[in-house]
Symmetry: C2
Subunit: 208 residues, 2 copies
């Protein structure tokens, strides 16, 4: 499936500043987000499913693909456009086998070895991170920075998006790292105006 | 799929008294458990998958089917014999569609209305409960008791197992409730000798 990775929004309900998730995502989509990943860790399957259905309706209205984090069953149930798999999720090759060849499968990596593993085992794209220090996700891994990103993008031929702590202030530094796009959580959803922020990031990213 | 529901073990890693889950389940299988449901709520998908693979190998050795609680993706990934779906999980009809007609799908119910819904929407069997007050699972529902169970078994023609607080001391009272079997968590895994307890329960249940 063809996919525009340039401005990839990953959700987090913990940073919404009183807005509903659907409202914030809609504003971000209006601002130019090209891909959405629904990430939920602490809700029951029924709520995840209902939210997934609503999110799919919303993203479809903007012609933007929806991926589901981790939960292949939710992705299948809401007929999402794909899944994003981390190192603590189901094995990549198992997910690819179960979801079939036509859906998007993304894979989180932190180094060139994991990146090559991802490319070899069926990932359509890689999420490389953390690029910078981030508060959204607790990780023990040293931030990659522009140099670490370049090592990863040089190791594979599939698209790579950077994730982790990317915002308007530091996005310029990773422009020449060979990325297909930037994946942003709090930089957009935690900002005062998700639509405006998405628009500004997209402008910055476009001005290569 | 043909299935013997008479002594149905549901797992809970919180009540193991120092044993490993696989060890306790193996003892219970040796004691006569006829069906196993792997229930996990707080582990990552990767760990659930690995545990599911190990559990499947174990149950297969005893010729006993393995069901996975809630997580259809884990059930698919480890090729389990089916899933068990609660009221907070994916909708029953969606699960049946995704898992296909040949796997076992169980459904948790607390009253005749839910039971009829389950039968109509593709459940192979129903788990009716809580039969008695139980500490394993927090629920707001009044225990069914023998009379409540009879209302449920009378409402449907698919097999019904009772679950919740069943143990050697109270199993006699639900023998004439029309059940296909008893589903037990702490009554077996929380006992000092899971194998011996399973054997005794099976004897008690067999002596109808």
């Amino acid at each position: 499936m063809k996919c525009d990775y340039s401005l990839y929004l990953v959700t987090d309900r913990g940073i919404l500043k009183g807005r509903s998730l659907l409202q914030a995502v809609e504003e971000a989509l209006a601002g130019g987000v090209t891909l959405v990943q629904l990430r939920e860790k602490d809700i029951c399957s029924r709520d995840f499913y209902q939210l997934g259905l609503a999110m799919k309706e919303l993203t479809a209205r903007f012609g933007v693909p929806l991926l589901i984090n981790d939960r292949l069953d939710i992705a299948l149930a809401v007929d999402a456009d794909g899944v994003h798999i981390g190192q603590e999720d189901l094995p990549l090759a198992v997910v690819r086998r179960l979801i079939g060849p036509d859906k998007i499968v993304g894979y989180s990596v932190s180094n060139p070895t994991e990146a090559r593993y991802g490319e070899k085992n069926g990932a359509d794209y890689l999420g490389a991170g953390p690029v910078y220090v981030t508060s959204t996700k607790k990780v023990d891994i040293e931030p990659l920075g522009p140099a670490g990103l370049r090592q990863i993008t040089a190791a594979v031929s599939i698209p790579v998006v950077g994730i982790g702590g990317i915002n308007l202030n530091n996005i310029q530094k990773i422009k020449n790292s060979g990325l297909a796009g930037v994946s942003i959580v709090s930089g957009i959803l935690g900002s005062d105006d998700p639509g405006r922020t998405a628009r500004l990031i997209r402008q910055q990213w476009g001005n290569v």
